[in-house]
C-alpha cells in the first residue's frame, strides 16, 4: 500500500512539476520545498490531486511541511487520513 501510494505521488510530481523529466532521482525523504520542486501554487495542485486520488479531505491546517514536504510524509499523511 505504502509503496503504491508513494509511486502515485512520485508520478504526479514528475508529471506536473518536472514535466515528465524522469531523470530526477526524487528519493522519498527529499524535501520538495528546500529543493524547489514545488512552489506555493504547486502545493495547492498537489492537495487537489491527493483529495481526488485518495478520497481524503485536506483541511487548511493540514497543509504544513510536517504532512506534505516529502513523499514519505505525504504517504504517511494519507494513511492517517484514511484511517481516521
Amino acid at each position: 500500500m505504502t509503496a503504491e501510494t508513494q509511486a502515485a505521488i512520485r508520478a504526479f510530481i514528475v508529471e506536473n512539476f518536472l514535466f515528465g523529466d524522469e531523470s530526477h532521482p526524487l528519493p522519498a525523504d527529499l524535501s520538495l520545498i528546500d529543493n524547489d520542486l514545488i512552489d506555493s501554487t504547486g502545493i495547492l495542485e498537489l492537495v487537489g490531486f491527493l483529495e481526488e486520488r485518495f478520497a481524503i479531505k485536506v483541511a487548511d491546517a493540514d497543509i504544513v511541511p510536517a504532512n506534505l514536504d516529502t513523499i514519505e510524509r505525504i504517504s504517511g499523511f494519507i494513511a492517517r487520513k484514511q484511517a481516521a
Binding site: L18, D39, T41, D62
Partner: protein, 464 residues
C-alpha cells in the same frame, strides 16, 4: 545615512532586543552586529574592498540577512541573486562553509560615504537582458525613511518577510526593520501558507508584506482562521496591481489591519502608496507619491498631461537609482531631464492617469514585460530559450490573465517536430529558465500572428 548604521544605531538603542527570528534561530541586535562584523572581516580578508560587488546566492534565512549587513560593513555592494537562477550554476570553487566565515574577529569598521553604492539589483529588461539597478546608500536610506514614516513603523513592530530578500520589496523589509529597531521574522517561502500564518500568530507579527498572488491564495483557503492574524497592524501589497476583489476580501477578512496598496519598481524602491483612509474614495488607485518623492504623469515630450489623461509616470527624488550598471543606453532612457526644470526624472515605463488631486491609477505597461506572481518575466528571455529548443521553428510569449498569478506566461509555438508535446516544451523551459518564467500554457500553431511587415507580434498574439 549608510544602511549599516541602522544596525549600529539599533544596537545602541537596545542591543538585547530581538532583531531576527528565522526557523529556530533568534538573534538579538547585539548578536546580529557581532555576526555581521565577523563576516565583514572574512570578506575583507578574501580581498573584498570598498565598492566591490558581492554576489549573494542565499535563500531567505538569517544567513542572508547577516551577509547583506556584513557586505555593507565591509564597504562593499550587495548583489542579491535568486538562488534558483542560472547564476549559482556558474559559480564554482566555493571556499568553505558559511559558518567558517563567522570565525574571524569582528571588523572594527571604517567610515564610508553614503554616496557609495549599496546594492546592485538585477531586474528584467524588455530586451531579455537583465539590467543592474544601482542604488546608493542614500537612495535606500531615503526610501526606507519615507516608507517607514507612512507605515508608522517603530521598534515595537514585528515584520514578516516571506518575499525573497533577493527582490527589492523583500530586501526592504530587512532595511525597515533595522532602521526602526524592529524584529524581522524571516520565512523561506509561502509554499505552506498555513505554516506562515501560524508564525504570524506565534511571533505576534504586526507588519505583513505581500504580493497579490499571496492574497489570491489566502482567498482560496477553505477555512482560514482570522484569529491567526489578530496581531497584524498593517498589510502592504506591491509588485503587481491588487485586483479589487482581492482588496475587498482582505479588508473584510482583516478589518483591524490597515491595508496599504503601493506601487514601485526596483529603480526607486517605492513610488506611491494609497493612504488606507482613501481606499473607498479612490478605488483602483495606487495613491500618491511617497513622502519626499515627486510624481507626475507626462506625455511623450515629457510635459505634464491634464487630470484623467493617460501618460507615462515619471518620478524624481532622493530614492531614485543612480542608473543601470554598465548600461549607459538604458540609463539615458530611464533617467531623463524634465524639459522645464532640468531635474533628472525616472521614466517608469508604466502608463498611469492622475485625478485632480494627484491620485494615480495604473493603466498598462509600455513594454511587453509580464508580471507573474509579482515577478517580472521578459517574453524575449523565454522566447530565446524556446528558439534554442530542437523541434521549435518559432515562438512568441505573452501574458494572459490568471486568477492567482495575476498574469500567466503563455507560449505560442510553431513546431517542426509534429511529435512535440506541451510537456516537452515546459520541461525544456524548466531546465533552462527560472521557475516563474516557465510557461503555464503552451499552444501549438501553424503560424504566429505577424504584423504587415512580417514581424511576429506579441501585441497581436495577446489580442487573440
Amino acid at each position: 545615512m549608510r544602511i549599516e548604521h541602522y544596525l549600529r544605531n539599533s544596537v545602541v538603542r537596545d542591543g538585547t532586543r530581538t532583531a531576527i527570528v528565522a526557523g529556530d534561530v533568534r538573534l538579538s541586535y547585539d548578536r546580529v552586529l557581532d555576526l555581521a562584523a565577523r563576516m565583514a572581516t572574512t570578506l575583507r580578508s578574501r580581498g573584498v574592498g570598498r565598492g566591490d560587488r558581492v554576489l549573494i546566492l542565499l535563500d531567505n534565512g538569517w544567513q542572508a540577512a547577516v551577509t547583506v549587513l556584513a557586505t555593507w560593513l565591509a564597504g562593499a555592494v550587495i548583489c542579491p541573486v535568486n538562488p534558483l537562477s542560472a547564476v549559482p550554476r556558474l559559480v564554482t570553487g566555493a571556499a568553505g562553509t558559511f559558518e567558517a566565515g563567522l570565525e574571524a574577529a569582528p571588523f572594527a569598521g571604517e567610515a564610508f560615504p553614503d554616496t557609495d553604492l549599496a546594492a546592485l539589483i538585477y531586474t528584467s529588461g524588455s530586451t531579455g537582458v537583465p539590467k543592474g539597478v544601482m542604488l546608493a546608500h542614500e537612495n535606500m536610506d531615503a526610501a526606507a525613511r519615507s516608507i517607514s514614516a507612512y507605515l508608522g513603523n517603530t521598534a515595537a513592530d514585528t515584520i514578516l518577510v516571506v518575499l525573497p530578500m533577493s527582490f527589492g520589496y523583500g530586501l526592504n523589509q530587512l532595511v525597515t526593520a533595522m532602521l526602526c529597531g524592529a524584529t524581522l521574522v524571516i520565512e523561506k517561502s509561502f509554499a505552506f501558507p498555513q505554516a506562515v500564518f501560524e508564525r504570524i500568530r506565534d511571533e505576534r507579527v504586526t507588519g505583513f508584506a505581500l504580493v497579490p498572488a499571496m492574497a489570491a491564495m489566502m482567498m482560496q483557503a477553505r477555512e482560514l482562521d482570522p484569529s491567526l492574524f489578530a496581531s497584524l497592524r498593517y498589510v502592504t501589497s506591491a509588485a503587481a496591481p491588487l485586483p479589487p476583489a482581492h482588496l475587498d476580501w482582505l479588508r473584510a477578512f482583516l478589518p483591524h489591519a490597515r491595508l496599504f496598496c503601493m506601487y514601485g519598481q526596483t529603480e526607486c524602491t517605492r513610488a506611491t502608496y494609497l493612504p488606507p483612509e482613501e481606499i473607498d474614495a479612490r478605488r483602483g488607485s495606487v495613491g500618491i507619491a511617497i513622502p519626499g518623492l515627486q510624481a507626475e504623469v507626462v506625455d511623450e515630450a515629457g510635459l505634464a498631461v491634464p487630470p484623467g489623461a493617460v501618460g507615462e509616470l515619471v518620478v524624481s527624488g532622493p530614492n531614485v537609482m543612480r542608473g543601470y550598471w554598465k548600461n549607459e543606453a538604458a540609463t539615458r532612457k530611464a533617467l531623463r531631464p524634465d524639459p522645464n526644470t532640468g531635474t533628472i526624472r525616472l521614466h517608469t515605463g508604466d502608463l498611469f492617469t492622475a485625478d485632480a488631486d494627484g491620485y494615480l491609477t495604473f493603466v498598462a505597461r509600455t513594454d511587453d514585460i509580464i508580471k507573474s506572481r509579482g515577478e517580472k518575466v521578459a517574453p524575449k528571455a523565454v522566447e530565446d530559450v524556446l528558439h534554442r529548443m530542437p523541434g521549435v521553428a518559432e515562438a512568441l510569449v505573452v501574458g494572459v490573465p490568471h486568477e492567482v498569478l495575476g498574469e500567466a506566461v503563455k507560449a505560442l509555438v510553431v513546431a517542426t517536430d509534429p511529435a512535440l508535446t506541451e510537456r516537452d516544451v515546459m520541461r525544456f523551459c524548466a531546465q533552462n529558465l527560472e521557475d516563474h518564467m516557465v510557461p503555464k500554457i503552451v499552444e501549438f500553431r501553424q503560424f504566429l500572428p505577424k504584423t504587415e511587415s512580417g514581424k511576429a507580434s506579441r501585441r497581436l498574439a495577446a489580442a487573440l
